[in-house]
Symmetry: C2
DNA sequence: CTCATAACCAAACAATCGTTTGCTTTTTAA
DNA sequence: TTAAAAAGCAAACGATTGTTTGGTTATGAG
């Protein structure tokens, strides 16, 4: 009974198991490169059995996407919760959490940058909404920065997100850590704003 | 005969026609979201007829990819050929040409950022090689920059390329032009290096 | 005209796709 | 103990996939 209670995790973690496996396939083979049979086989069941848990392949993607957004959001929120620095430090903290979620741990967060809404037309609208909802966190963080009046904050945000979401394409384990990358990324942007003040004073 | 000579472009632009159509589909639906029949129908022929021009779907992608790399490379080279400024100006010029190729004109260049090698395992190696070959241009441009000793040039390059290749995901016609975007992107990075000198002198 | 080659059609191939259906097994709750 | 609900199996559905094959039409050179 003691062992039994441990080995028997509890009800309905089977659905989560499917989600995890699906996330892995979506990340490595893309949405249209993954078949229902790929996922079912890896999950140890038959293709049709998946339809007890999800009404369609696109609904499955949506569920994975939602889990991804939830996890990366929570990671960023948690990291920001005990962040004591200025606005730049907070942005860097968010970037580090974002990168950590993308590169380490599960595949859920990775899916939301690997699969683009166009890949699943029937779910595209909701995927975009989910993504935008998450990225709004960065809107607030960037707008809190002390910036030049002629710097477009939304452009800075898009530039940063582009750089961050590109990392999984070249990242190799053993290189710079997510924490280190976040610091370097922010450093490359930070002084651009700080120093413009200096430049202004000089002229 | 006068009209005839115009309507009859010349031998074998049919293959290029197919490439253009394929590029459009690959950009809008992805590689695995596009079928041979999609392309054949749009090209006004039957699916099997494509195999006279290309031995496989992946070979077709490879041909599109090559054309994309060729075009964006030439765009950057041409732009750099009559660039008179310093290293930062030259990098900005390259970025502008890169963005122009991605956002305006044909779909060829867009394919090389929309389709990732993983999508076509059989051609992955060659796709990666093509992409790396092009991106080396930026290696040289970034290494020519006057930078801090503690700034990693290859990281700056990856950051910039990430930001650039992300633009097609949010770009809307009527907003900032590619030229404007390139200027703003570089501005966000430039002073970070320039001003660190100032900071050093201050301390 | 002749003939070879280029370009394409027409039709099918086996394989795989997402999905459905009806039935069986397992688990849960009363 | 028993009935209901959850979970999955077995098997197939029609549609679509990339690709092949053999024959047909167009074109251009000798």
């Amino acid at each position: 009974m003691t062992v039994r209670a441990k080995l028997k995790p509890q009800v309905n973690n089977r659905r989560e198991h499917i989600l995890e496996i699906a996330a892995g396939f979506f990340v490595r083979k893309g949405f249209n490169g993954t078949s229902i049979r790929d996922i079912a086989n890896a999950a140890g069941m038959l293709p049709g059995s998946l339809y007890y848990h999800f009404p369609s392949k696109e609904a499955l993607l949506l569920a994975v996407f939602e889990e991804g957004v939830t996890r990366i959001s929570e990671a960023v929120d948690t990291a920001l919760a005990d962040s004591r620095g200025d606005a730049w430090d907070r942005l860097q903290t968010a970037c580090q959490a974002h990168l950590s979620a993308l590169l380490e741990g599960s595949d859920f967060a990775h899916v939301i940058v690997r699969v683009i809404p166009q890949d699943a037309p029937g779910a595209a609208e909701e995927l975009v909404a989910l993504r935008n909802g998450y990225e709004e966190k960065f809107t607030a963080l960037v707008e809190a920065l002390p910036m030049l009046s002629d710097t477009d904050p939304s452009l800075l945000r898009l530039m940063l997100i582009g750089a961050l979401n590109h990392v999984p394409l070249w990242y190799r384990e053993g290189g710079e850590t997510p924490s280190c990358l976040a610091r370097l990324f922010i450093a490359n942007l930070r002084f651009a704003q700080d120093c413009s003040e200096t430049h202004k004073e000089e002229t």
